[in-house]
């Protein structure tokens, strides 16, 4: 636990199936107060199902969960007052204006905007110029900010954000994470899911998920430091053929395309980057470049899947 011992959210062996598909398999984890906890995994890894169980919208087939010590099945009503939820899809009223949406969500939680304004001030300031614009006419980044305001307006102690940055431009994504970091300082516990591995670094701890199962829960730094092998980045023309040759190489354990280069895990005791470069040049590759790199979360994820 990174901050305190008392868990704000605790899941025990949560499972959920939709017909034959196992959406969630024995997911267990705990989130401490004031922590930013990231659920990282590709589409279909069970993130949204997990969120819907925690927000009391879905019942798990087995296992249990508590939010702020309240049971998600028995005390669902009390939980709804303490929870801020942003669904994966934009779900505010598109035909109401920015201000009306905020007012509406404040009033159904029996609070006023003024009461909790300090909490949303920094975000709402950016929205203020458009406050009479219909929510449906906002840009993607602005929509997410408004949704966050609406989820925060009743001053929840726990915030559940389901893929808040999907479909948002890189600058807005960065801004959004800056906002989350600020909220964390106000003791709000944040659980956020994302398919973008690079965003994992902004979480205190992350759960790597795959096909409904939690593979690992750790701080992102430690996940990276626990990367078991040596990682090289390899470039050379032609790139596509390079990948097949790398996979054939006896000193290379695995290799995969990663952006504009290939990443390869190697038996570093048997070969150096320079030797590999020579090998590849002999095979006729041009512009060959091999260098040792720090693994990213995505490399760790891929390594874990290959295990």
């Amino acid at each position: 636990m990174s901050t305190e011992n008392i868990a704000t959210i605790s899941c025990r062996q949560l499972s959920k199936r939709y017909g034959k598909v196992e959406a969630l398999r024995n997911a267990s984890f705990e989130v401490g107060r004031g922590e930013i906890f990231g659920c990282i995994g590709p589409d279909g890894s069970g993130k949204s199902t997990l969120f819907r169980i925690l927000t009391t919208l879905l019942r798990a087939d087995s296992g249990g969960a508590t939010v702020e010590g309240l049971d998600v099945v028995k005390d669902y009503h009390a939980i709804r007052n303490r929870l801020g939820y942003m669904p994966g899809r934009f779900s505010l009223y598109q035909d109401l204006s920015v201000e009306e949406n905020l007012n509406f969500f404040a009033s159904i939680f029996n609070v006023t905007i003024r009461e909790n304004y300090p909490l949303i001030r920094d975000i709402y300031r950016q929205l203020e110029p458009f406050k009479s614009r219909r929510a449906g006419k906002l840009s993607g980044g602005m929509k997410q900010k408004l949704a966050l305001c609406c989820a925060l307006i009743h001053k929840p102690s726990v915030l559940l954000l389901d893929e808040p940055t999907t479909g948002v431009d890189p600058i807005s994504r960065k801004e959004f994470w800056d906002i989350l970091a600020q909220l964390r300082r106000q003791d709000i516990t944040i659980v956020v899911s994302t398919p973008y591995m690079d965003e994992a670094l902004r979480c205190d701890r992350i759960a790597l998920m795959r096909e409904g199962a939690v593979l690992k829960i750790e701080t992102p730094e430690r996940i990276i430091s626990q990367f078991p092998q040596t990682l090289w980045s390899v470039q050379g023309d032609p790139m596509y053929k390079l990948l097949t040759d790398l996979r054939r190489h006896e000193d290379i354990i695995s290799s995969y395309a990663f952006g504009d280069a290939h990443h390869a895990t190697v038996r570093s005791e048997r070969i150096t980057p320079l030797q590999l470069e020579e090998n590849l040049k002999m095979l006729g590759y041009l512009n060959v470049e091999v260098k040792k790199i720090q693994p990213t979360i995505e490399d760790c994820y891929i390594a874990m899947i290959n295990d």
């Binding site: 009391t56 919208l57 709804r80 939820y85 009033s107």
Partner: protein, 370 residues
């Protein structure tokens, strides 16, 4: 909380690109156009006359027929087969054939025959047309008798005349019968379809997800969805009362108070069913088709066109579960007979039952948790 939910519904309704227009246009079309077309009166029946007698008495009959508002003397033919052709070509609906010795027999024997042949492809037109024409012929016969033509003496002595008097709608004005029923149809379409589309559209836009994590309760939610339609229904019906009074000079013999009591209950019952459909549907299209299916059946089994009492017994048994039937009865009875709540208690109880049933169902079928 309820206040804000309702306020939101109204804002959404007002900003909708289409619905507010529909709420205005629908009563206008319903009351401006429908009473003229949804009409069982048979008019403009084309008669082909075959006058084989060419006498004074036969041409008086022809004149009598053509002076009626219901008939057009569209053609005359020299023989039956020629007249038949005009029926086949669609120029005539009825053939009235006068025998060659019409006048002579009338004078000598005090009786004569005419023949009526009817095109019954359209049963209503054929049936009503021939009975109207029969009335005219009988009328003519009575007229001849009352003139006490000296040469007709004996035959006229034992005749009697039938005098019908029509209660509640003395002039048999078909519009007085249809307009109240069309108002029912109007309310049914608006307050049945709109709620059916409402919750499901929140499902489609995803807003229901956000609403479900709030502390808003089921009862509050359903009431917040019902009240806007209630108000819309009241406005629309009041507007159509005004239209009916202006256009057709139709005002209820009974009191508006009675009607409003029933409308209040009826809209609740109907919108409840709409919400139920919405709760079970996953897409607007689905909700629309299901609502359409039910409203179709309810309308045809309500007595709007065919009186319930002339349906087969099994169908009459089904109409017991049709809220539309009760409200249709109420509107016609209040508009034409001047009935009050006291006489309409069975209908009131039935509608209250429907309202409680449908709204309880709507509340129970709205599920936040799956």
């Amino acid at each position: 909380m309820l206040k804000f939910l309702i306020e939101k519904e109204f804002k959404q309704l007002a900003r909708h690109s289409f619905l507010p227009k529909l709420i205005i246009v629908m009563p206008c079309v319903m009351l401006l156009v429908m009473p003229w077309v949804a009409n069982h009166e048979v008019k403009n029946v084309n008669v082909c006359l075959v006058d084989n007698d060419h006498s004074a008495l036969s041409s008086r009959l022809a004149q009598k027929v053509s002076s009626s508002a219901y008939f057009n003397l569209s053609a005359t033919a020299s023989g039956y087969s020629e007249a038949m052709q005009s029926i086949e070509s669609g120029k005539a609906d009825l053939i009235l054939e006068v025998q060659p010795d019409f006048e002579r027999r009338l004078v000598r024997e005090g009786e004569a025959e005419v023949m009526l042949s009817v095109n019954a492809v359209n049963g209503v037109k054929g049936g009503l047309g021939s009975s109207y024409l029969l009335n005219i012929v009988n009328d003519y016969a009575a007229e001849l008798r009352s003139e006490q033509l000296p040469y007709m003496g004996a035959a006229a002595s034992g005749s009697f005349q039938l005098q019908a008097s029509y209660f509640f709608n003395p002039s048999l004005n078909y519009k007085a019968y249809m307009v109240p029923a069309l108002m029912v149809l109007l309310i049914t379409l608006l307050c049945g379809f709109l709620p059916a589309l409402n919750i499901v559209s929140e499902k489609e836009s995803g807003t229901i997800e956000q609403l479900n994590v709030t502390p808003v309760g089921k009862l509050t939610f359903v009431i917040a969805k019902l009240i806007p339609y209630w108000i819309v229904g009241f406005i629309t019906i009041s507007f159509s009362f005004a239209l009916a009074a202006l256009l057709y000079n139709l005002t209820p013999v009974g009191s508006f108070g009675t009607i409003y009591v029933f409308i209040g209950v009826y809209i609740l019952a109907l919108s409840g069913f709409g919400l139920v459909i919405s709760n079970y549907s996953n897409a607007t299209q689905q909700a629309m088709l299901v609502a359409f299916f039910f409203i179709m059946i309810l309308v045809f089994m309500s007595g709007l066109f065919t009186p319930v009492s002339s349906m087969p017994q099994w169908a009459q048994n089904i109409t017991i579960f049709n809220p539309l039937k009760y409200f249709m009865q109420v509107m016609r009875m209040v508009y034409l007979k001047g009935s009050s709540v006291a006489e309409l208690t069975p209908q009131l109880l039935a509608l209250c039952g429907f309202a409680v049933f449908s709204n309880t169902w709507a509340m129970l079928s709205y599920k936040k948790v799956r």
